[in-house]
C-alpha cells in the first residue's frame, strides 16, 4: 500500500472516532483476542453498564461473522467499534448468500420497527427455538443486539456478484 493511502485510512478512522477496527478472516481465536482488548478498553472508560452492552453486542456480532465465515475462508468479515459524540457504534460486516439476504432483510425490517417490549417478547420466544436452521444462536444473537442497542439497529446490503451480497449491521449504544 502506498503510504499516503495508509494515512488516508488513519485520517478516516480518526475522524470517525474508531476505537477498534478489523477486516479479514475471522476465527474463534480472533474473537477471543479482540474481546480481551475490547474489555480492557471499555474498562478504561469506566462505565460498567455500557461496557457490558458493548461487549455483548460485539460478541454476538463476531459469532455471527464466524458462523458465516465457516464455509468460505476467502470472504472476510469486518468489525468496527467507534465513539463519537458520546455514542458508541458497533458495525459488523460479512458476505452472505443472496438467497439468505432476502429473509434476513425481512427479519431486520421487522426488528427495526419493533418496540423494546416486542423485541423482548421475540427474544423470550427465541430462547426455546431449536438452532438447526440458522446457526448456533439461530436468530437469538440478532435479537440480543437489537435488544441491547439504544436505538433501532441499522443495516445495509451491498451487491457482490450474482450469488453473494455483503451484509452490514450497525448498533448504537
Amino acid at each position: 500500500m502506498d503510504i499516503s493511502k495508509a494515512i488516508d485510512i488513519r485520517t478516516a478512522m480518526r475522524a470517525s472516532g474508531v476505537i477498534m477496527a478489523y477486516n479479514g478472516t475471522v476465527s474463534d481465536e480472533l474473537m477471543v483476542s479482540l474481546a480481551d482488548i475490547l474489555k480492557t478498553r471499555m474498562e478504561a472508560m469506566d462505565d460498567a453498564k455500557r461496557s457490558r452492552v458493548v461487549f455483548s453486542i460485539f460478541m454476538e456480532g463476531m459469532q455471527n461473522l464466524i458462523w458465516h465465515g465457516r464455509t468460505n475462508q476467502n470472504a472476510p468479515g469486518m468489525v468496527c467499534i467507534s465513539q463519537q459524540d458520546g455514542e458508541i457504534t458497533v458495525v459488523c460486516g460479512n458476505r452472505i448468500q443472496r438467497e439468505e439476504s432476502l429473509k434476513l432483510n425481512e427479519t431486520l425490517e421487522q426488528l427495526q420497527r419493533a418496540d423494546k417490549d416486542t423485541i423482548r417478547q421475540l427474544y423470550r420466544e427465541g430462547m426455546s427455538k431449536s438452532s438447526e436452521h440458522e446457526g448456533p444462536g439461530a436468530g437469538l444473537g440478532l435479537l440480543e443486539i437489537a435488544r441491547r442497542a439504544s436505538h433501532p439497529i441499522s443495516f445495509a446490503f451491498m451487491d457482490v456478484d450474482e450469488d453473494h451480497v455483503d451484509f452490514f449491521l450497525a448498533a448504537r449504544i
Binding site: 460498567a48 457490558r52 455483548s56 459469532q63 430462547m127 426455546s128 444473537g141 440480543e144
Partner: protein, 125 residues
C-alpha cells in the same frame, strides 16, 4: 448418582452438580467454542436428576457473561430442572447477578417468564 465437577475457564463456567447433596450451580463466563460439546454433559446430568434425585434440589446460577448459544443450552438445562419438579422433587433456583448488571438481571426475569412453574429468585448479589 449424577455428579459433575467442571472447573471454570476463561470462557466456560464452573459447573457443580451433586445428586447426593441435592445441589447444582453454574458460575462464571459462557462463550465456549463448541457449545454442544460443553453443555451436552451438563444437560444429560440434569436430565438424569429427574430420574434419580431423592431430595430437594437447590440451584444457584451466577453468570457474568453468557452468549446467545449458551442461553439456548441453558434453556435445555432449565427444561431438565422443570422435569425434576414435575417428578415430585422441590426445586429452588436463585439467579444471582451483580447489582448494576441489567443484562443478567433481565435474563433471569426472562427465564422466570419462560418457566413460570419453577421458583426462580432473581437476586442482586
Amino acid at each position: 448418582m449424577s455428579e459433575l465437577h467442571i472447573a471454570a475457564t476463561e470462557r466456560t463456567p464452573e459447573i457443580l452438580l451433586s445428586a447426593n447433596n441435592g445441589t447444582f450451580s453454574m458460575k462464571g463466563e459462557s462463550f465456549p467454542e463448541d457449545v454442544s460439546a460443553f453443555y451436552g454433559q451438563v444437560i444429560v446430568a440434569v436430565d438424569q436428576l429427574a430420574l434419580n434425585l431423592t431430595k430437594p434440589l437447590t440451584v444457584d446460577v451466577a453468570m457474568i457473561y453468557i452468549n446467545s448459544s449458551s442461553i439456548k443450552a441453558m434453556f435445555r438445562i432449565f427444561e431438565g430442572l422443570e422435569a425434576v419438579r414435575k417428578n415430585g422433587q422441590a426445586v429452588s433456583i436463585t439467579w444471582h447477578h451483580q447489582e448494576d448488571d441489567d443484562i443478567m438481571q433481565e435474563l433471569g426475569e426472562d427465564f422466570k417468564d419462560r418457566f413460570p412453574d419453577l421458583p426462580i429468585e432473581v437476586n442482586a448479589a
